[in-house]
Symmetry: D3
Subunit: 70 residues, 6 copies
């Protein structure tokens, strides 16, 4: 307890093994500090998605990144 699920876009080669370890460890420690439990049982799941598959305000991240570049 708890289960923490992160859905992020796969960009710039994707999250590295080290970044995933840092994120998993950091979120677990943060949760345990705030709630006083979960240090050994927290589950962290990271899912990376193509920028075509994640949209904000009706535009995909692919579309948003392309607009910024222009």
């Amino acid at each position: 307890m708890p289960v923490i699920n992160i859905k992020m876009t796969h960009e710039d080669g994707g999250a590295t093994k080290e970044q995933k370890e840092e994120l998993s460890k950091g979120i677990t420690e943060l949760f345990a500090k705030i709630f006083g439990r979960g240090a050994s049982s927290a589950v962290v799941i990271i899912e990376e998605l193509n920028t075509d598959n994640y949209a904000i305000g009706g535009k995909t991240i692919t579309q948003i990144r392309n607009e910024v570049k222009k």
Copy 2:
């Protein structure tokens, strides 16, 4: 707000970039029309799954598609 997550099977070559854009835009507009908010902040996430990994009534989509073909 809101977050809308779509889990669908990857069939016939998978959803195209254009279909994903149309789905993201359409769902966001529909939500905003009904609830009067979310037009700029709605998040849409599309996840495609192998037909072996999605089952209805205890049978995978792979099994269901094969039965139909017979």
Copy 3:
């Protein structure tokens, strides 16, 4: 197929039964129009969350709504 999950904040008395029906029907029709399947099997799940439990950019919707009011 597909499964569509909507997580939205519970505001202004919450989504009405009619709004939920309209959203479920509208998303299902939109999906079926784009992909040519799912009209009878699409699952739509709507989850409403307290505005303290949904944050954007590190601020809860409660905080964001209060800032706007000021």
Copy 4:
């Protein structure tokens, strides 16, 4: 490992404590039997939803149950 999430409708007074225990135990044992792991670390999360908030084929379970009753 794994994390198993069940989203079901809240009907007939809802799932009892005993049903939830039986489901959690049964799914964990089934997974461990098939994959040879997870017996002590599987997480099972059960979420119950109002029948207005769960739709199949564009109709909410409330609508579907009412049609059956007629």
Copy 5:
């Protein structure tokens, strides 16, 4: 981007408004520090569950807490 979903048990009166704000802010800052994006667009969703509805290793948290008390 990203969307971060936390499913935790509702215990000891539940997470306070301040704890939810701290968690939302802390996770968003951690993610932004590691990946260099998401500071203004990260979505954090916190869901609290009855201890009967969350199980580890085939036992609900209710069962686990009761065993510890004995």
Copy 6:
């Protein structure tokens, strides 16, 4: 009804087609036995994750497996 989502690590070549069929069928039957519904409408979705993307107690499964090997 219901929707059951399984997130598991991809290990030892991954879950086979047969294991996925057995899991989907078994969970559906178990649910139907306990609750008396869902036999034909239960949806089961299986997602496999890299061992770098699943952590317990702040350590990724990759790290946990490596410690065991030592």
